[in-house]
């Protein structure tokens, strides 16, 4: 008995190509490029390179999407552990040789391109966790040993990412893993104990925040509680981004016409605060269209998870979907002042090659699971 990894021929695969998801991703990315253009116009001629680079990355993302969706995702089941190990080595080497940007080491410099392993770590964790969950007894996890086995895959990379320091990505990673475990199912006994532990650990968290967080992370927390605490530093971002979103109104101020954006009141607006530019220039209408596009992507992804041919495909899909979901939820909440500022990009829209490529890899994995749901074992 063998498994065909190449699928059932190109023609059949093409007809089963995941069009909804792919077009959704492309639409989001194009909107992102328009927003990045708008956000970088005030920088003068230097701003153009952002748009050019993002477009190039979008091209690479599309190639990845097409190539990967024709490959069988079960290759990942077999090779996933190696991808995971490579990413882990990359994460460790980032903390040793990484390049410092704005005070954190997150990138590996390849000369031509800087590569941010923490973006890809999320995918690697999803792959190994999906395999490990699919090998467990189906139903609910009810032994501690089993839970710790799954958790170890997440906690090791999360630790290295948190020390970069990139708290945002570490949080997303943990939430993604939690989502996958919950989807696979936890026994009631375990749920109760975990809930109890979580409540008991609140004081530990409090002191941890007091002594372990870096100065700027503390500042962000304090600022979230009171934006006027430091209106020139961290609070400035919250205040200005809320003004930008709020002043957009129903239809927005129009392309290139956002005053908050064009007058450079907005910080890091082409990366983490790109949603603020969207809300200011395209209003409630534009923002809700983008949010709806994300919703379609996520619901479609969950649908693919439900109809997958095997458990690995299900958990892989749930993982990929939850990566996108948690990024959107955290980033948009942050821009609207619902949660403290944590540096998390908005998938497909934010400027940045690593983020865009890893988003397309999520889409590609989902497309691959989708196009193989009817194929039988030979």
């Amino acid at each position: 008995m063998g498994i065909s990894y190449a699928g059932r021929g190109w023609k059949a695969s093409f007809s089963k190509f995941e069009w909804i998801l792919s077009l959704d991703a492309v639409a989001l990315s194009l909107a992102g490029i328009a927003l990045i253009y708008s956000a970088t116009v005030p920088l003068g001629p230097a701003g153009k390179s952002f748009v050019i680079k993002q477009t190039a990355w979008l091209g690479m993302g599309l190639i990845l999407l097409v190539l990967f969706s024709f490959l069988d995702y079960r290759l990942l089941e077999r090779w996933g552990i190696w991808i995971y190990i490579i990413i882990l080595v990359a994460l460790i080497s980032v903390s040793v040789f990484g390049r410092i940007t704005a005070g954190s080491r997150r990138w590996i410099d390849f000369g031509l391109m800087r590569f941010q392993p923490s973006e890809f770590a999320k995918l690697a964790v999803v792959i190994v966790l999906a395999r490990s969950l699919s090998e467990s007894q189906r139903g609910s996890i009810d032994s501690w040993l089993e839970l710790f086995k799954h958790a170890a895959f997440v906690l090791i990379p999360a630790f290295f990412i948190a020390t970069q320091p990139d708290l945002g990505t570490a949080i997303v990673l943990s939430l993604v893993a939690l989502t996958m475990v919950l989807f696979a199912g936890l026994s009631k006994k375990l749920c109760k104990v975990i809930l109890g532990l979580a409540l008991a650990s609140l004081p530990i968290l409090y002191f941890g925040a007091k002594y372990l967080l870096l100065d700027y992370q503390k500042k962000r927390l304090l600022t979230f509680l009171n934006p006027d605490y430091d209106p020139l530093g961290a609070g400035y971002q919250i205040i200005q981004s809320q003004i930008a979103v709020g002043s957009g109104g129903l239809f927005g101020k129009g392309f290139l016409k956002g005053t908050q954006n064009q007058l450079m009141f907005l910080p890091v607006k082409h990366t983490d605060f790109v949603f603020a530019v969207l809300s200011e220039e395209w209003g409630f209408l534009g923002s809700s269209i983008v949010l709806t596009l994300f919703l379609i992507f996520i619901l479609r992804g969950l649908g693919i998870a439900g109809r997958s041919r095997d458990d690995f495909g299900t958990f892989l899909s749930v993982g990929c979907v939850s990566i996108i979901f948690w990024h959107v939820a955290i980033n948009v909440s942050m821009v609207m002042g619902l949660i403290p500022v944590v540096g998390v990009p908005l998938n497909f829209l934010s400027y940045g090659g690593s983020s865009l490529l890893s988003s397309f890899m999520c889409a590609a994995a989902l497309a691959s699971v989708s196009s193989r749901r009817f194929s039988h074992l030979s």
């Binding site: 008995m1 005030p42 100065d215 002043s247 957009g248 129903l250």
Partner: protein, 613 residues
């Protein structure tokens, strides 16, 4: 066919979970949309008010930089307002109009004015672009009314640094300038932003964290023309702390005036505490030209000047100490028991060693000399003999006891360590050990040995205070803006030299006689009624001591450095002085009179002039 657990075609095992998770996601997105609705449509108008026409501006209130004062409270670095005229390129409507009305009051011809404005078009659209900086008061008064009429022009004021004494303290206090991109990367986290002033060198740099203060902010409401309507909230800036130097500006001025040569350094210290009383490095520069943005021409001329006026020679000038190190060599030989005070050597005017001839400065020779005479008359051959017996490593050990070969720990971090050669060092850098011929030159402070004036000052201070190598300091106190003292300097002994009382007394007597004895080399430093001890030095720049040419025939950069160290230790206030004159000739001839004038001034005595005999 084997049924695999994972094979579940057309199976709906996870259907219910997918539905639950989908519902949660929908609720989440719905919540975000509601928040968006709330922000944009319900509260939208109030945010709109904030954003439209940018009615709310957040102004940064830069903190007044702390002042630097001398010990009597005279400001050495203070703040004055500087006016800049800027335009906002995105707001320009009528270019010809703008050129016409502004070219005259700014003193630019119309074509130049136009080209400057056109240059601004490639910069960020809504950021102010500076047209002219550091406007004079007359220009400000004419431009003020003009700028109120047009929306695209703004007149801004910001404090810049002024140094009332010009170049007098240039190397000690240093200068300030706009923060560079590499400094921004370093300081970005602590609130620095492009365009901020930051200390670049000297005290301004080392005490940046104290001087800077804390930025304040103000939210103001403005009308469509950019005029200020009201202040909403405000947190005032906290001014920086003031720094009090141990120096006295008038004494420093006197020392600077005494130093009339082209290049060199003078350091005056209080031997008991290590307090720097004066520190002059020549040539200097006017730090005021850095405060206002420095012109390309000024920068080039300062940077390419072969005399390197930007360098603080007192801490970075590396000079062979020459004969001024002889007291240390003598102390080494006595402490090691290699000689007794009455040990004699014969000086025939030169010493031959492996075919190489090492000459004494006195080519006729000193005849039979003991240690006292050798120090007083600075006999080189006597010290060649000591060098041969001591060896480089032992000499290096004693030099390091006096703090040579390492930075003295002065507050200025650019200080250089100098060089005290050892066999280990020579082997690592040249692959061979130190030869006898080199040992003899090290003994008289030549060869590889390099010291800075401040190191020599601390060495001299140790001879004056009974063997304590002090850490020198410039800053006496730091006071917060409300006048309370945040930091008070206290003397630090870096090294204590253990010594035999008789040996020490002999060396001090010899240094007294350098000034007092008729045959002493430092006689020009003599002040009747004041017990000055000293040692002269004439350090060679090129390594030949072949034939003594008439001084005027030697090109400037090949002439010897004149060195002179002196101290007074029997007064209630002691003092130690080091004078280094680059390519100045003989130490006893040129440097000694300068030291005499400085010491006289320090004790308030009239200068007796050169001794008649």
């Amino acid at each position: 066919m084997l049924q695999l657990r994972s094979d579940r075609v057309l199976e709906d095992y996870y259907k219910s979970r997918v539905i639950v998770f989908s519902a949660i996601v929908c609720l989440f997105i719905l919540a975000l949309l509601m928040r968006l609705w709330n922000l944009q449509l319900i509260k939208g108008e109030s945010y709109d008010d904030l954003a439209i026409e940018n009615r709310i501006r957040l102004l940064r209130l830069p903190p007044p930089r702390g002042e630097i004062l001398d010990r009597n409270g005279n400001p050495l670095a203070e703040n004055i307002p500087s006016f800049t005229l800027s335009i906002i390129p995105g707001a320009i409507k009528e270019l010809p109009e703008l050129v016409k009305s502004y070219s005259e009051p700014l003193g630019y011809p119309p074509e130049k004015m136009r080209s400057i404005i056109e240059k601004s078009f490639s910069s960020p659209k809504f950021m102010p672009f500076a047209i002219k900086k550091n406007l004079s008061m007359e220009e400000v008064s004419t431009l003020k009314s003009l700028s109120l009429q047009s929306k695209c022009v703004s007149l801004n004021v910001r404090p810049i640094r002024r140094y009332p004494f010009g170049d007098l303290f240039c190397h000690v206090i240093g200068s300030t300038g706009e923060i560079s991109s590499s400094e921004l990367e370093k300081f970005g986290r602590v609130g620095y932003r492009p365009g901020d002033l930051v200390g670049k060198t000297g005290i301004e740099k080392e005490y940046e964290t104290y001087l800077r203060g804390e930025e304040g902010w103000e939210q103001i409401e403005i009308d469509a023309k950019g005029r200020r309507l009201a202040s909403l909230t405000r947190r005032p800036a906290k001014p920086g702390s003031n720094i009090l130097l141990a120096m006295d500006a008038s004494f420093q001025k006197f020392v600077e005036d005494v130093f009339t040569e082209r290049a060199g350094s003078v350091v005056v210290v209080d031997p008991d505490t290590g307090k720097i009383l004066a520190m002059v490095s020549k040539p200097g520069f006017d730090p005021n030209i850095f405060s206002a943005s420095i012109s390309e021409k000024d920068w080039k001329s300062l940077n390419s000047d072969p005399l390197r006026p930007l360098e603080n020679r007192s801490i970075r000038g590396l000079y062979p100490p020459g004969s001024t190190i002889k007291p240390v060599t003598a102390f080494a030989a006595l402490s090691e028991g290699l000689i007794k005070p009455d040990t004699q050597f014969i000086c025939p005017g030169e010493l031959e060693l492996g075919g190489q001839v090492y000459r004494c400065w006195n080519q006729h020779g000193h005849g039979k000399v003991d240690l006292l005479t050798a120090l007083v008359e600075s006999c080189d051959v006597y010290f060649y003999e000591l060098g041969l017996r001591l060896g480089a490593d032992t000499m290096a050990h004693y030099a390091s006891l006096f703090g040579l070969g390492k930075p003295t720990g002065l507050e200025l971090s650019q200080e250089l360590p100098g060089l005290i050669p050892t066999n280990f060092w020579k082997e690592r850098n040249y692959g061979t050990f130190i030869k006898d011929g080199e040992n003899v030159t090290i003994a008289i402070g030549q060869g590889y040995t390099l010291t800075t004036p401040v190191q020599l000052a601390m060495m001299t201070a140790a001879l004056a205070n009974g063997g304590n190598v002090m850490r020198p300091f410039l800053v006496a106190q730091i006071r917060s803006p409300d006048g309370s003292v945040i930091f008070d300097q206290s003397p630090v002994v870096r090294l204590r030299i253990r010594h035999d009382k008789q040996d020490w007394a002999l060396i001090r007597k010899a240094m007294r006689d350098v000034v007092e004895s008729r045959s002493g080399t430092g006689r020009r430093c003599r002040v009747p009624g004041l017990n000055i001890s000293a040692k002269t030095g004439t350090s060679q720049v090129i390594s030949t001591r072949e034939k003594a040419k008439p001084e005027d025939d030697v090109p400037y950069h090949e002439r010897t450095h004149a060195m002179f160290v002196a101290f007074v230790d029997d007064q209630p206030r002691k003092v130690a002085v080091v004078v280094v004159i680059e390519h100045g000739g003989g130490g006893g001839k040129i440097a000694a009179p300068m030291a005499r004038k400085i010491i006289c001034r320090y004790y308030g005595l009239p200068d007796p002039g050169e001794p008649k005999d």
